[in-house]
Symmetry: C2
Subunit: 368 residues, 2 copies
């Protein structure tokens, strides 16, 4: 059931079978360097989010540039990283269910593993799993800093949960998880500033209330590619959890001109039909490129506009320009990188027009 | 990189790890039987579309009930079926690129394999690949019967392409591919009738023009779950290519009251947070359930409404009813089955509340 790789090292990019996930290595490395340089003067550390890349290979490259560890959203992602040698992993999410918790505790013997909680019942379940496995792990309190999805209310509710964690023999209080997910893609900079200003303020107050109860926060984590500069400058957040900056996507790029990061991730597609005048059809529909944050863009071909995704077909309108040839290969910029990566088994790393490497996407797929 | 199965035979459904793809075997078998019964009086045969299920196991169950073969959209799907013992496979789509064509020709030694074309250049490429492999395969002419995506114009252009196919020593003319994809999800029955009425009429005229040139159509294929009764009753189509009927999805079900098929496919999800009043969060976001045709519905829980999908979270509003418990498992009805199946490695077959079987989803993923 493993799909064979669509390329071999040394191949020219236009020989790669499609659809394929292309990583432009020069742009990718420039993004890793740019994030390290942007965070260096702030004092906040990067704990890059592996939900974007799902790859221990990429995690290692981020840590070589100063990232203190990785975030993941799911136990399957934590497994892929721990098995790939990543030493410090935070599940920045709730893990509910005995089977998943047991899998997580098994990893605590080969890596530092932490997890979040927003419910006292869940804290008890994590403690029971840790006890059964004979490990002791840090648990962060997730607070709702504005996105109204997961997280207890900042302030006294968070303090009470932190005390429950600190009171368990099998857990340690790991700090606060305070990610404002709904602010990441807001179009106007002032909207993002207002949302993160609020998040930082309620987080700061909660940190202070915890300190008054004798509880220090080893980690105050949050921030994504859309807002990380604000969290990093706040003086409240100690760890930045951006992930998409490694690849960038069409939606994030719309929000900052010029964007501080380059597009490094593309879906390579083949023109498979041009039977309808003014239309070219490529072999990358929404099974090959995620459309939840808008349709992909055709890279460096302004006369081609991707106007419709069906399961296996992408429909391009040919506007004013020359129609592409049958069999021609085009790079698409995904609207949203995370779920696009999730469709593939392999990164095809390209430099100077040649395939340089193939990296497995070890944690792809629907399983948690 | 293969994800382990989320369940074992004999488990209770509520013990299955989540997110997981649940197949309700009673409903699934009823759907297979219902389609066989609906087509029997029409004379049209079923060539079920495996793009929906991606599984040789399910293909065999369809063929045991009279399907003459399977359709696929991609070479990777054809490989999964041929390797799983399916003897008759039509790629109801264009296959462009030497590497893909070579893979397809390799299958022609273990199964009857046919493919579509809508371009003379492509016919030449298919013939060259067949010659190199020492095989002779049927090629169908795809016509544009109204969806304006792939396909040559009906009538003389289609006849010219059919003559090019028939004139090759390495190919056989296989008939017409005439699928009206854009009609499948139209809401009003009269809109679907008008679209298929047009498609059947242009197809009928093309079949007649081919006959006048001495070319018979072994296959006239088309029809999907939204319209198959119209194609089957037309007297023009010989093969029906429906796929989604096996599972049904929320979008197809909206169009027919009562729908002739039952929901048999579900995403099982766990309530992972209920920290925000009036909200429950499940561990199935749009990486776990496709949202391109609308959000999923919560099965048999009218007081729970799925209102937002982020990458790994699904947000439910609790309306008037009792809030679900932390850790409770809920079935979601996907808005669109095909791309939802594509996210998973395993079907978890359930009957009477117990896991009965695990079937691999052999052809999932982005590769073509």
């Amino acid at each position: 059931m493993l799909q064979p790789p669509p390329a071999e090292p040394g191949m020219r990019e236009e020989e790669v079978d499609t659809p394929a996930l292309i990583l432009d290595l020069d742009a990718f490395e420039a993004n890793l360097d740019a994030m390290a340089a942007l965070l260096a003067p702030t004092g906040a550390k990067l704990r890059a989010h592996a939900k974007t890349h799902k790859s221990a290979v990429i995690a290692k490259l981020q840590m070589a540039r100063g990232a203190v560890g990785q975030c993941v959203q799911k136990v399957a992602e934590a497994e892929a990283l721990a098995w790939g040698g990543i030493p410090d992993i935070l599940v920045s999410n709730q893990v509910v269910g005995a089977r998943k918790l047991n899998r997580l505790m098994a990893l605590a013997r080969i890596a530092n593993v932490a997890v979040c909680a927003d419910d006292a019942e869940q804290v008890a379940a994590i403690a029971a799993a840790a006890e059964a496995a004979g490990v002791r792990i840090p648990v962060l309190v997730e607070i709702d800093c504005g996105a109204a999805r997961c997280g207890v209310a900042p302030g006294p509710a968070a303090v009470a949960l932190a005390e429950a964690i600190a009171g368990s023999h099998h857990l340690r209080f790991g700090g606060l998880q305070s990610y404002q997910g709904s602010a990441q893609h807001k179009r106007a900079p002032e909207e993002r500033e207002a949302a993160i200003g609020h998040a930082a303020e309620v987080t700061r107050r909660t940190v202070e209330q915890l300190r008054q109860r004798g509880l220090d926060c080893p980690i105050v984590g949050g921030g994504g590619t859309g807002t990380f500069a604000l969290e990093a400058a706040s003086g409240v957040y100690t760890e930045i959890q951006a992930g998409s900056y490694t690849f960038m996507d069409a939606d994030y790029a719309r929000n900052q001109v010029p964007p501080p990061f380059r597009h490094s991730l593309f879906v390579l597609a083949t023109v498979m039909s041009r039977a309808i005048p003014g239309v070219a059809v490529v072999d990358a529909g929404h099974k090959a490129v995620s459309v939840d944050s808008g349709l992909p863009q055709v890279w460096q071909r302004p006369s081609l506009r991707y106007v419709g995704a069906s399961d296996e077909h992408g429909k391009l309108l040919v506007e004013d320009g020359e129609a592409p040839a049958l069999g021609e290969k085009l790079r698409l910029v995904p609207g949203h990188c995370d779920p696009t990566v999730d469709r593939y088994d392999w990164y095809v790393g390209v430099r100077g027009g040649r395939v340089e490497c193939l990296w497995p996407i070890a944690a792809r797929g629907g399983m948690a």
